[in-house]
């Protein structure tokens, strides 16, 4: 009903996607300025914008974002690469699959944050502990999607490789990985997304830099605007990363069959 009404107003879905959040922000701003809610509890959007600008001007913003991104990249590379390699090995070797498969499935049931006490006990709260925590988050989507992609390579491509005498690395890089690429890229996207969530989590426990640190600091000094600005940053950066990866995915997979479903 509402959709039809809005469509009659001539609004496209994309425009709506921008208008709805703006309306929420306006209502938020209005609620505070009409004293329906204390400014100390619910910082109005304009103040938040101001906080963000101040953070940007002082250089704190860039510094903390870069600190978080660095942890994401290192953790993602550690966890993603090992997930990729183990996923391929499991898919290609029934033996390794029997060994690692159940273990990985069991460990996957452990909520990621439950690793925290163990990591702190073994690795402390220094940088490496954070990389490790992010790496755990990055590992699962990568190993599962890579495994799925590689074990899903159609038999007909394996036959083709045999006929044209493709073996070992040439076989892996020219037939298996390209065929599994859609799945692998989905793995990368999910893996990077989780890395970002986990780095913020890691920074909430003992850290002296990063977006998560910004928020803990805000809480400690009761600067709600800082906490909320941090929330917004986390959302915006996560959204941007996902958006860029989706674009890259489309670019990478141009060969996929067109939408009309004609078989490739």
């Amino acid at each position: 009903m509402a959709k039809k009404f809005l469509q009659r107003l001539g609004l496209k879905d994309k425009l709506l996607a921008i208008i709805v959040p703006l309306l929420v922000l306006a209502a938020w701003q209005g609620a505070v300025s009409q004293k329906l809610c204390s400014e100390l509890i619910l910082t109005p959007p304009l103040t938040l914008l101001n906080t963000l600008l101040e953070l940007a001007q002082s250089g704190d913003l860039t510094l903390n974002i870069l600190a978080s991104l660095k942890r994401v990249m290192i953790g993602f590379l550690l966890g993603g690469t090992s997930g990729f390699v183990i996923g391929i090995l499991m898919a290609l070797s029934p033996f390794l699959n029997r060994i690692f498969g159940p273990l990985i499935k069991a460990l996957q049931q452990v909520p990621e944050f439950a690793w925290m006490p163990l990591i702190i006990m073994f690795l402390g709260i220094d940088e490496f502990a954070k990389y490790f925590f992010v790496a755990i988050g990055a590992f699962y989507p990568m190993v599962l999607n890579t495994y799925q992609g590689v074990s899903g390579v159609p038999e007909k491509y394996h036959e083709l490789a045999r006929v044209f005498d493709y073996k070992s690395f040439r076989y892996l890089f020219k037939v298996i990985i390209p065929s599994a690429l859609p799945s692998i890229i989905t793995g990368i996207r999910l893996s990077l997304g989780l890395s970002w969530m986990f780095v913020v989590g890691a920074e909430l426990f003992g850290s002296d830099s990063g977006v998560g640190y910004l928020m803990t600091w805000g809480r400690a000094v009761f600067q709600i605007d800082l906490v909320m600005a941090g929330l917004i940053l986390v959302g915006v950066i996560g959204f941007a990363m996902n958006f860029l990866l989706e674009r890259a995915e489309k670019q990478f997979l141009l060969w996929r069959e067109p939408v009309d479903g004609r078989p490739a």
Partner: protein, 259 residues
Amino acid sequence: MSNNKGTLEIRNLSKSFIVDNSPLQILNNINLTVTSGSFVSIVGSSGCGKTTLLRIILGLENHYDGEALMDGKQIVGPGTNRGIVFQDHRLLPWLTVGENVAFGLDKLNRKEKKLLVDEHLQLVGLIGFESVYPSQLSGGMAQRVAIARALANKPEMLLLDEPLGALDALTRMYMQKELERLWQLEKITMIMVTHDIEEAIYLSDKVVIMSSRPGIIKQIIDVSSSRPRDRASSEFMQIKAEILEEFHLGTEYTFAYAI
């Protein structure tokens, strides 16, 4: 190709698969000689083992009894002297047309590769399509790329597993002419599995008729009519009637029914 390459000699070949722990005989005592440069079709209803026979010749099925000799050597696996065109074109969707044709040329340098790719795209009439992806091609075009890919390797024998089976009737007849042209041009041996009797008569020097359970060769019919063949000629009709008779599908009114 030189005149004595691309011969096939199959002697007392049998093959069985294990199904539910008991052997199921697929091929029984197959004997077949294919001379260099000839076009041989294998026809039969589904399940007669014709595709299995082709896969043995290709080298994808390794465990069999009897002999399968390619140019006098026992076939133990795939080799570059045999090319294959599958029923599904089996192009790799992430490679362009040009890269697909070059798929078997991995050991050559770029220049040699490009030369061979161009030559074979020209051969199948697809010059200008090098950088197109398979998903953008029609079924007939994709199958022509698959043929170019198989021929680029310069095989002595081209194996065709129902290569035109997925095409519509008109494209199919056009592609039959194309296959004949390529066969005459390349002068290599071609062995085609098909269930289309007209297609087999139109293209072949020899039509091998198989029957099922277990697969045996029932009859080998020589077709010596001059080319290009006229599907409506009485000679063509006669051969067709003869083959249909083998499948117990002959009728007294073959002529009236075929026109």
